[in-house]
């Protein structure tokens, strides 16, 4: 029997970061209460007790802006409407400036057992460039508070390929991040998204070129692996056994239901998305969705997602395309883009860096 994951999009932020294009609006307590009501209505609507729900993920925005009471209301409803397993992974994305030890303790009590903390960098100059509201000192403190509050599964977000970033400054950030009591790191290459303040020549000129980014990325993989954080996806690293179970759903074509404005779902063979509009979400009985894919997880999509994972694509799972893929393997091995053990094709760090082209070459 398939299991299920639930994603809750919490669209509030204190301040929008300059690079971010996820949907969020300014936080107001009154609106957040209406929002929580709407989430609960939707949880009831999507109620599914047949399948086991084993991951819950509060993403944003800034989910840590919700009060522990609000988080508890939502989690209680999930327990009501879904068959939530006792060892479910329940993650809350957290901004270091929105929590303290007390709030973290309260959150822990609601059932949240994993935190994803937006550290981004341990260099204040880089943090202010990114438009973050916290300092490196605060980031370090919040991790230790979280640990003390009972979180033993903490993840940190880090950003690489920042302006003037050097091997030394990258190493400095990674050294400090990995010396904290954390189990997981998501490390993203900064990308200037359309429509964000970073989408301008002035910023783009300051960013390292692709060859430099490649060096930085490979150096990061080396450093993290040497610290015991194994790469398991293009941008994700974890101590053994601490891979994000929820995020792995995305890459394994497992089902998840997304609730909240801009949330995406993949459920029962269909992909659908909710509009990027908080008012609509609050005012609708049930969130309005748009089907983005009537037949999800076909060969191309499945392979493309699978190949983001270090474990790669098991060719037994795509028997019709096995011959086509096998023919292309030698050239990719020769260039150091993939590994092949006779069963699965998996990308190397060099291959991850070129994953768009490698995947295109493999599956078309």
């Amino acid at each position: 029997m398939n299991t299920l994951g639930i994603y809750i999009h919490v669209p509030f932020c204190v301040k929008k970061c300059s690079y971010c294009d996820f949907y969020s609006v300014s936080y107001e307590k009154e609106i957040s209460e209406k929002y929580v009501d709407a989430v609960i209505r939707n949880l009831q609507y999507y109620s599914d007790k047949k399948r086991i729900t084993d991951t819950v993920y509060f993403g944003g925005g800034t989910p840590s802006l919700l009060s522990p009471e609000q988080v508890k209301l939502i989690l209680d409803e999930i327990k009501n409407s879904f068959n939530l397993s006792s060892d479910a992974e329940i993650t809350l994305e957290t901004n270091p400036n929105t929590v303290d030890f007390n709030k973290l303790s309260e959150l822990r009590k609601t059932g949240i057992n994993r935190l994803s903390i937006g550290v981004q960098s341990m260099i204040d100059r880089e943090l202010s460039f990114l438009g973050r509201i916290h300092t490196s000192e605060r980031a370090e403190a919040v991790v230790s508070e979280a640990y003390k509050a009972g979180f033993d599964n903490i993840s940190c977000d880090v950003m690489i390929a920042l302006p003037e970033q050097s091997a030394e400054s990258l190493r400095y950030t990674l050294d400090r991040v990995t010396s904290m009591p954390i189990k997981h790191i998501s490390a993203y290459i900064l990308k200037t998204e359309q429509g964000t303040p970073f989408d301008c020549d002035k910023i783009k000129k300051r960013l390292p070129d692709d060859d430099t980014v490649a060096e930085i990325y490979l150096e990061m993989v080396r450093i993290l692996e040497s610290k015991g954080f194994e790469q398991y996806e293009v941008s994700n690293f974890a101590k053994k056994g601490f891979e994000s179970r929820h995020n792995c759903r995305y890459w394994k074509c497992s089902d998840y239901i997304g609730i909240g404005p801009s949330a995406h779902s993949c459920n029962n063979g269909k992909r659908f998305a909710v509009g990027r509009n908080l008012c609509d979400f609050i005012e609708s009985d049930v969130q309005k969705i748009e089907i983005t894919d009537e037949n999800s997880c076909g060969f191309e999509e499945y392979s493309m997602l699978r190949l983001r994972l270090k474990e790669g694509l098991d060719l037994d799972s795509v028997p019709k395309h096995r011959d086509m893929i096998t023919k292309k393997i030698p050239a990719l091995i020769k260039s150091g883009y993939i590994n092949y053990d006779g069963k699965s094709v998996s990308l190397t760090p060099k291959g991850f860096l070129m994953s768009n082209s490698v995947i295109e070459y493999l599956i078309f």
């Binding site: 993203y188 290459i189 759903r249 999509e301 070129m354 768009n356 070459y361």
Partner: protein
């Protein structure tokens, strides 16, 4: 006896010296066109002609002029193509005339093409009437130009009409000269029909329309005519002349006249320019002299950028050929470019015009290979091969001698550029013959040049090295033995057939390096490293590498939103169609084009 009131003439002029403007003024003065109907430069009726200010196809117009002596005269103005590529067509047009008006720009003087065409006219015993145009320009120096005409061409010119076609100044004087100086046609109307074809075009209602000059006899509707070179026989449906915009069918034509014949002719291939038309039932003894079949000189592969447009390309070429018998094409395939055609052209301009018409009038996106000339190769077996496609160049071990076509070139330019021109010609393996001062400031340089050295970009480079002042003309000289090799370009170890070309040994290395560099610039970095090699036989003489791309990744796939990733996949699929996939190498169209435009 032919009508003594007829004057058959053409206008010789360099591009932009005012041929079409003068023609328009003559039409206007003879009231062939009501002034309100005048469209600027009426005789040129193709878009490209107008834009480039050149005349591609000859046309003939009949005009009526009442001279100062009170008599009415019939003028047949035969418009000739001005460019060397159409040299043969020019010569046939000239044979249809008794005289030529030589238009020379009052500030620029004689240019290479003018010279070549004037000599051609003199060779055909035409009466040349010099006219100095653009006297309204501040820089005009008519006296200097007149003495240049006398010195260089050797015809009296001091009393040449000095006109401004643009302003309409002194046009009357030109018309009077036509009456007085140009002889009336000769010919016996009672003899068997003998007529010269000097042009033809395809009309979708009437079939091929042939333009003729009747030399002897007469032709009328209902006659059976025979085209002597091709032997084809047709029944005349219409015979008449052209006014400024229409065919006027007046039922017959006779010796001395210029006009058209329509005879339900389906294929323009039957109506070769230069052929003689006679009466099938009462033929003349022998054809007019000088007929030859026009052979293409320059060849190039033309491919649709989108392989699916192959059928459209063939249709377009067929349509163009209806009006242009000198265009030849045969299907060819290229590993690199897929299905296309090897096309033969009279010369470079002809090639450019065809390519441009295909793109503009038929909306086709084309990839063309480097132009090639015809090489003559004698094999060790004694067999002689003519090679117009580099891909077919035989293995060097089998070649006894290889020969390439040479041309005799005239380059006219201000003397300050002589050094630059000599350097260029030297670089293009030119053999200097002599140099002649036209006046104190202008020279005519005579060179012998291999045709394959001028088919790429010679004219462009000549223009840029002389700040646009040089003019250039050439005629074929014949074949000479040469040290020729085939240069192949390899991408990732595989020969790209569309990029192969034949070149002189001494120039192979330099060209190879340049091409490799150009390709490196124009092939984007991609998944795999792309070695670029240039090789003769198996020997690599130049090498470059397009390094593999390092980063091409969507780092985030967050919150389960994979729409962006899917969009990217779709885009990649789409982009793949526009690239030429050669093995594992993706080559954009620009890369092929860039190789054709090597700057010197």
């Amino acid at each position: 006896m032919a009508n003594q009131k007829i004057r058959n003439f053409c206008i010789i002029a360099h591009i932009d010296h005012g041929k079409s403007t003068l023609a328009d003024r003559i039409l206007e003065k003879t009231e062939t066109v009501a002034i309100r109907d005048m469209e600027d430069q009426l005789l040129d009726n193709m878009d490209i002609e107008r834009e480039r200010g050149i005349t591609i196809k000859a046309r003939a117009v009949r005009l009526k002029y009442t001279a100062q002596d009170g008599e009415d005269y019939i003028f047949n103005l035969i418009d000739t193509p001005g460019h060397v590529d159409f040299n043969y067509e020019v010569s046939r047009s000239l044979v249809a005339c008794e005289g030529a008006i030589l238009v020379v720009d009052a500030s620029q003087g004689i240019e290479a093409q003018t010279l070549a065409n004037t000599y051609l006219a003199i060779e055909h015993d035409l009466e040349v009437v010099p006219v100095v145009n653009k006297i309204d320009l501040p820089s005009a120096d008519p006296e200097r130009v007149c003495s240049e005409v006398e010195n260089v061409i050797g015809i009296p010119a001091m009393d040449a009409p000095k006109i401004s076609a643009k302003m309409g100044t002194n046009i009357e004087e030109v018309l009077e000269r036509i009456v007085k100086d140009i002889p009336a046609p000769q010919g016996d109307t009672e003899k068997p029909l003998k007529a010269l074809i000097f042009d033809s075009y395809y009309d979708s209602y009437k079939g091929v329309i042939i333009y003729v000059r009747i030399k002897e006899g007469r032709v009328k509707v209902g006659d059976n005519i025979r085209l002597m070179a091709t032997g084809a026989v047709f029944n005349v449906v219409e015979a008449g002349f052209m006014d400024a915009s229409n065919l006027v069918n007046n039922g017959s034509l006779e010796a001395g006249e210029v006009g058209y014949i329509a005879a339900s002719i389906k294929s323009i291939g039957d109506t070769q320019v230069g052929d003689t038309v006679t009466n099938n039932d009462n033929p003349c003894d022998e054809a007019l002299p000088g007929y030859r079949k026009v052979n293409p000189m320059v060849f190039s592969g033309i491919y649709p950028a989108d392989g699916a447009k192959y059928g459209d390309l063939r249709e377009a070429l067929e349509k163009l050929q209806l009006n242009d018998a000198s265009l030849s094409f045969e299907p060819e395939t290229s590993v690199a470019l897929g299905f296309g055609f090897r096309c033969g052209f009279l010369g470079l301009l002809h090639m450019e015009i065809i390519q441009e018409r295909l793109e503009r009038e038929y909306n086709l996106d084309l990839i063309t290979t480097a132009p090639s000339v015809i090489y003559k190769v004698t094999l060790t077996s004694g067999e002689v091969q003519y090679i117009d496609n580099p891909t077919n160049f035989p293995d060097p071990a089998l070649i006894q001698t290889a020969e390439e076509p040479m041309v005799k070139a005239d380059i006219l330019a201000p003397s300050e550029f002589v050094g630059n021109i000599m350097e260029l010609c030297q670089d293009r393996r030119g053999i200097f013959k002599d140099m002649q001062y036209l006046d104190d400031t202008r020279v005519n340089l005579h060179y012998e040049l291999p045709l394959n050295e001028i088919v790429y970009d010679f004219f462009d480079v000549l223009k840029s090295r002389t700040r646009g002042y040089a003019s250039f003309d050439y005629e074929m000289l014949g074949y000479v033995p040469s040290k020729l090799v085939k240069l192949d370009i390899l991408l990732n170890g595989d020969i790209v057939d569309a990029l192969s070309f034949i070149i002189h040994t001494d120039k192979a290395y330099g060209r190879a390096r340049k091409i490799a560099e150009k390709l490196k610039e124009n092939i984007p970095r991609q998944l795999f490293e792309v070695p670029i090699q240039a090789a003769i036989g198996g020997k690599v003489i130049a090498r470059e590498t397009v390094k593999a791309m390092r980063k091409d990744v969507l780092a985030k796939c967050y919150g389960g939103d994979i729409t962006r990733k899917k969009k990217l996949l779709e885009k990649q699929k789409e982009g793949k169609k526009r690239m030429r996939q050669l093995g594992t190498v993706e080559v954009p169209q620009e890369a092929f084009m860039s190789v054709l435009k090597l700057d010197s």
